[in-house]
Amino acid sequence: MSRYNYDIIIVGLGASGAASAWMLSKSNLKILILEQGNEYNPKDFHKKNDTWEISKLKEFHLNPNIRKGKYDYNIDCKMSDINIANFNGIGGSTILYSGHFPRFHQSDFKVRSVDNVSFNWPISYNELEPYYEMNEKIIGIHGLKNDPAYPKIKNLKPPINLGESGELISRAFKKLNWHCWPSYSAIDIKNNFSVKTIYDTYLPLIKLSKNITIKKNLEVIKILSDEKKVKGVLCCDQKKNIIRFKSQIVILACNGIGTPRLLLNSKNKYFKNGIANNSSGLVGKNLMLHPLGFVEGTFNKNLYSDFGPEGCCVYSHQFYETNKRNKYKRGYTMQVLRGAGPLETALYLKKTNQIKFGNNFFSNFFKNYNKTIPIAIISEDLPKSSNSVFLDKDIKDSFGMPCVKIKYKIDKNTKEILKAGIKSARKVLEVAGAKKIFSFAPIKNTGWHLMGTARMGNNKKNSVVNKHGQSHDLKNLVIVDSSIFTTGSAVNPIATIQALALKISKRILEKKNEY
């Protein structure tokens, strides 16, 4: 077994690991980043490539169980209403995300005080705001200032072009006097509207640092600790060689599934139910996934909805906050998306029997392609301890580490939110003039916001880490990914994930002796 020493080890080089590494690169600390997956060429996952629609059906499929990449691990979702979506490799799930960067609302951090549900976060919007700003500046977010849904957001680049479909739907929202705003988008307008990933933002900056070493294709299989401190990690390569790295601090950035998987697999004589799990027993519990509703309107005229950047075009927070007249607490976002590409359109029409091979194939195809406006409903997903991630001892990945099983049921509150969201989205599409509208919820393959499985809080009995991301049980074990979210909000988590990672990592720089 080889041994190497570092000041800090970061496990995972996705959205949170990259932000954390960049912040820590400002020091002289010797840092090692360990990533189980590969490094990719951004051209391979450029959403506007002619080959992208084929790639996303297999090697870049959202679902690791379908993708079956060399560095993926199986996620058994037989007991879950939603399938998990992720990507394992440098870039993590930013490789497949839509680049929509909304912030949480102020109320998202205080849901117990405001709505008497779940728990308050141990931090506030105001504390996180400087890090939202810092991150938005580094990423280069496009958007429109003075959004009524947020306090002032600075540093925005000009909003991306809405296109014909965006204009039509925005007018419909306006007619209803409902909030609607251009999305906060991480889009590279100079590179054929590609979605910016960490390959375009943090990664080149991290690579400039002489103090940072990146090792890929190495899976961390265990965190090593005694009763009070983490000592380092054990890794495995594809040839099943075991390597030990020692460090003063270990930072986990493996997302809401990967992080509890590693913690649970790291049990030892001091932590019999998984590392960092003695005080609360909550590692792997309270999984939140943002169940999604989908509503699509088909119009008679060509809206060119497949063109322009992928992802969200405009969004509405009209029904985001709790309304006492509703049957549910908290609310939802309506995200207006771009239309599906030609292959996705054809596959969908064929599968749903709306198109037949033969005399009128294209006639029916062009009645739909570029003439649709989809709206996704992202619902608040409050934590429940029964929704959980646990180790699957029967199936191991290519490194020999146990895979995971998911248990997840959508609760009554979320079902009501989705119902209301679908009703609202249908109304907007009707006002916009859609000739045909269909809707359904939940969408099975959309568990890509993986949150809550090592949540943060002030009380060590009901949380896994403190407000600085430090494990209550082991002060030099820090988590920076979305597993530490106390609640899930009703927006995409990426902006909050990266802002939190920056904040937590800055504190490490300032108060290293407290770890």
Partner: protein, 114 residues
């Protein structure tokens, strides 16, 4: 699988996209010339196409393979873009008329002591 079999298969699948000319699209035969997907999956398509008594999964799978073969052709994508007149993508929308930047804030302001 000989050439004659392959030609017969392509001829049969050509009939799936009969109205291609009307929309200035390519025939299946033309499309697969630059479809790597078809080249990689030809034998699967062949087997499924001539399989008697296909179950529902096999029907879905064949449909998917045929559509992926066709729509992965760069020439097909080019024809679609041409048909849709991509100039529209450049159309600028005047957002000043759409979004009121002076509108009252709709988020819940929090004044809870930290």
């Amino acid at each position: 699988m000989n050439i004659e079999n392959k030609q017969n298969l392509i001829k049969e699948i050509n009939n799936y996209f009969k109205d291609y000319k009307k929309f200035k699209m390519l025939s299946f035969k033309q499309s697969i010339k630059d479809s790597d997907f078809f080249k990689k999956n030809y034998s699967k398509i062949f087997k499924l196409f001539y399989l008697k008594d296909k179950n529902i999964e096999q029907i879905f799978s064949l449909n998917e393979l045929v559509l992926c073969s066709y729509f992965s052709s760069k020439k097909v994508i080019k024809s679609i873009k041409k048909f849709n007149n991509l100039k529209n993508d450049k159309k600028k929308i005047n957002i000043k008329n759409l979004f009121d930047t002076n509108k009252k804030k709709i988020y819940l302001k929090i004044n809870i002591n930290e």
